[in-house]
Subunit: 386 residues, 2 copies
C-alpha cells in the first residue's frame, strides 16, 4: 500500500524542474522534421540560442546528451597528436581530458584541488612557458558540476586567445543562468545541454562554434559522422538538421527560451545569484560547511559537507523519504563526502526555503542541532540587492 | 485568420503517430537519472528490448538519432583499413558506407537499382570470391526507408556468418514491426530508433550488440567516447547509463513496449503485413504504379510513382492543404519521382482507408481519374487471413 506523497522534486544539478508549458509542448504529437512548421521553429530556436550566447558563430542543436556535444567539440577541432591543455576542477573537467585522449591528443592536465577554481596566474605561467606555442587548445569547465566551482572563464579565454590557442568550454550548468558573452570573451567552442538552466528534460545538446574553431575544423583529421558540424552547418542554412532530431524537445526549447526572454535574461541571471546567496546563508546558519569559497561559488550548484557523524547517505535518504526531495551525492572521490544541491533553471526563492526547511528537519531527526534558523538567515538575504 | 483544421497526421516513414499514453509518459516531470525509480524502469526496458530482439546479446539505449547508433556500430567494430562490404539499396544503405569510410574503412559497395532488394546469389558469389577472407563486416539496411524495400536479412546474415564476417544491420524502420530473431539469424550488430515502430518521437537510438561483435570491439582501434559501448556495458550492469539519458523518453518507451506486449508481438507484426496488403491493393485500384515488387515490399513503407503529368509536389501539397496529412517525397535521386507512405507503429486499418480516400480526392482534384475505388479494393483485403 502506498500513501499519497508529493511528486518527486529535483534539487540535483540536472535534470532540473521543467515548467508545465514546456512539458505541454513536448507532449504534442511530433511534427515531421522536414515540415515547414518545424523548419520555422528550428530557425527561430537556433537564432535565439545564438542571441543568448551573444555570438556571431553558429549554434547547432544535437540530439544527444551534453557529453555528445563535448565529443563534437573535440572531434571537430583536435587531430591525433595535437597538444591539449585540460584545466581540471573536477569530474567534468576530467571528462574533457578523457575525450581528448580518446581522440589521440597529447593531453596535459592542470589540476586543482576539489572545490578550488583554476588559478589564472598558474595558467598564465604555463602558457608563457609554451614558447613554441605547441598548445593547440585549452579545455575548461565553466561551472564544475561535481564541486560547484565557477571558473573565471573571461580571464581563461582571454589568456588562451592571447596565446593563439582555442578555448573549448563546457557551459552545461552555466549557460542561460550565467552571462557568457561568447564573442566578447573570445570563447571559440562552447557546449551545453537541455536539462539545466534551459529547463527541459535531458535529450538535446547544443554546441556553439566560432570562426577560429571553423578554421581548426578545416584541417581536423579526426573521424566523425553524427558529430560532423559541417553537415549541421549545411543543413542549418536550410533551417534543418542532417539527422532526424528530437522534434518534440526542439518545440519545448522554443517555449523555454520564450520564458527566459519574457522574464528577461538579466533578471534570470540575477535570480540565480540571489538563490546562491540565500542558500549559502541558510546552510551556514545551520552550521554546515560549504566546499567552495564565496569567491568562486557557483550560482547554480552548491556542495555541502555533512556534519560530523552524520552520513551523506542518511541526509539524502531523509530528504527523499520524508519529503520526496532529491539532492545529489558527491561524485567519484567526493562520493559520501559532500552532497550537492542544484538551483538552476526553473527554481525560485520558495524552492530554496523549502529545501532549507526540509534539510533542517532531516538533520534534526538525525540528531544534529542547528546553529540558527536557516530560514531566518535566508529570508534576510532577500532584501539584499545584487 | 486560420480556420480550424484537423491536427497534422504523419503518414511519413518517421516520426510516426505516438499513442496518448506514451505522450503522457514523456510529459511527466523528469526523474533523476540516478534515482532508484529510474533504474528500475531502465532495467525493465533494457530487458524488454532484448526479448523483442530475441537475443542474448546486449541492448543499449543511446540518447540520439538512429544515425548515432549506426556510428556506434562502426566505431566499436571497424578499425582504419578494415574491409567493409556495404550492401546498398538506397540512401540509408549508402549512409553505412559513408560512416565506415569516415572511420577509414576500405569500403566496397554492392549496389542495387532503386526499388530492388539485395541479390542474395550475387552476395554469395562475392563472398566466395573473397578467398583470403579479407571482408571483415557487411553492412545492410534491413528495411530501406528511401525505397520501401525489405531485404532478406535472414539469408544475408547467414551467408555473412558462414563467411566469418560480422553482420551490421540497420533495423530502424523494421524493428518491432517485423520479426527479427537476432541470434537465430546470426545478426551481430543491429540498431534502431525510437520514432518508428516503437511509437515514440525521435530522440532515442538502440543498439543490440552480440558476442562476436564484442570480440571485434576488444581490438577495435577507432576513437570513440559517447558511443563507447564498453561504458554502456559497465553501466548496464548497475541498471544505469554512463551519460545523462533522455529519461522522459525511456519512460515513454516503457509504455510503448507495454502496448506492444499487450497487443502481442505476433499480432503487431501481422497488422503491419495486413496494412501493406491493404495499401498496395488500394493504390493499384487507383491505377498507380508501385516502386517495389510484392516479393520484397516493405510492411512499413510504400513508395508510389505519381500518375503521368501529375507532380509529387502537387500530391503532397493537396494532402497537406486539404487534409493535413503528411506523406514523404523521394530522397536524393528519387526526389520528385516517388512519394512514400509510412505505415509503421501506431497505424491501423482506418488510417490506411483514410489515406487512400484522401489520396483519391486529391488525385481527382488534380484531374486524374482513378481506375477503381481504392476503398473497395482495400476493404476486400481485410478478409484475407495472413
Amino acid at each position: 500500500m502506498n500513501n499519497l506523497k508529493p511528486s518527486q522534486f529535483l534539487m540535483i544539478p540536472g535534470p532540473t524542474p521543467v515548467p508545465s508549458i514546456v512539458l505541454d509542448a513536448i507532449s504534442q504529437h511530433p511534427l515531421g522534421h522536414r515540415s515547414q512548421e518545424f523548419s520555422a521553429i528550428f530557425a527561430s530556436v537556433s537564432k535565439e540560442l545564438q542571441a543568448l550566447a551573444q555570438t556571431k558563430g553558429d549554434a547547432f542543436i544535437l540530439t544527444g546528451s551534453g557529453t555528445l556535444a563535448m565529443e563534437a567539440a573535440i572531434s571537430n577541432t583536435i587531430s591525433p597528436g595535437d597538444k591539449v591543455l585540460s584545466l581540471v576542477t573536477g569530474v567534468f573537467g576530467e571528462r574533457w581530458a578523457n575525450i581528448a585522449q580518446a581522440y589521440g591528443a597529447q593531453v596535459e592536465k592542470l589540476e586543482c584541488q576539489p572545490g578550488k577554481a583554476v588559478d589564472v596566474d598558474q595558467l598564465a605561467d604555463r602558457l608563457s612557458a609554451d614558447k613554441e606555442k605547441s598548445i593547440k587548445a585549452i579545455t575548461i569547465t565553466h561551472n564544475e558540476t561535481s564541486t560547484g566551482v565557477l571558473n573565471d572563464l573571461r580571464q581563461i579565454a582571454y589568456l588562451t586567445k592571447k596565446h593563439g590557442a582555442l578555448s573549448i568550454v563546457d557551459a552545461v550548468t552555466s549557460f542561460g543562468a550565467i552571462n557568457i558573452p561568447m564573442d566578447e570573451w573570445h570563447v571559440d567552442v562552447m557546449i551545453t545541454g537541455s536539462q539545466k538552466a534551459l529547463m527541459l528534460p535531458p535529450g538535446l545538446a547544443i554546441i556553439f562554434f566560432g570562426a577560429r574553431a571553423w578554421a581548426a575544423q578545416a584541417t581536423c583529421k579526426s573521424p566523425r559522422f553524427y558529430t560532423d558540424l559541417s553537415r549541421y552547418k549545411k543543413s542549418l542554412a536550410a533551417n534543418t538538421v542532417p539527422f532526424t532530431p528530437n522534434v518534440s524537445f526542439v518545440c519545448g526549447l522554443q517555449k523555454s527560451l520564450q520564458l527566459i526572454q519574457d522574464e528577461g535574461i538579466a533578471i534570470v541571471q540575477a535570480r540565480h545569484l540571489k538563490l546562491r546567496t540565500m542558500l549559502r546563508s541558510g546552510l551556514r546558519a545551520l552550521g554546515l560547511r560549504l566546499l567552495v569559497d564565496d569567491d568562486f561559488a557557483s550560482p547554480t550548484i552548491t556542495a555541502i559537507l555533512p556534519p560530523e557523524n552524520i552520513s551523506v547517505a542518511d541526509i539524502r535518504k531523509g530528504l527523499k523519504e520524508d519529503f520526496n526531495i532529491v539532492v545529489a551525492d558527491g561524485q567519484e572521490s567526493l562520493q559520501g563526502k559532500i552532497f550537492r544541491i542544484g538551483h538552476m533553471g526553473y527554481v525560485f526563492e520558495r524552492d530554496i526555503l523549502m529545501t532549507l526547511a526540509c534539510l533542517h528537519a532531516v538533520l534534526k531527526k538525525l540528531g544534529y542541532e542547528a546553529l540558527q534558523s536557516p530560514i531566518q538567515a535566508a529570508v534576510q538575504t532577500l532584501s539584499i540587492k545584487r
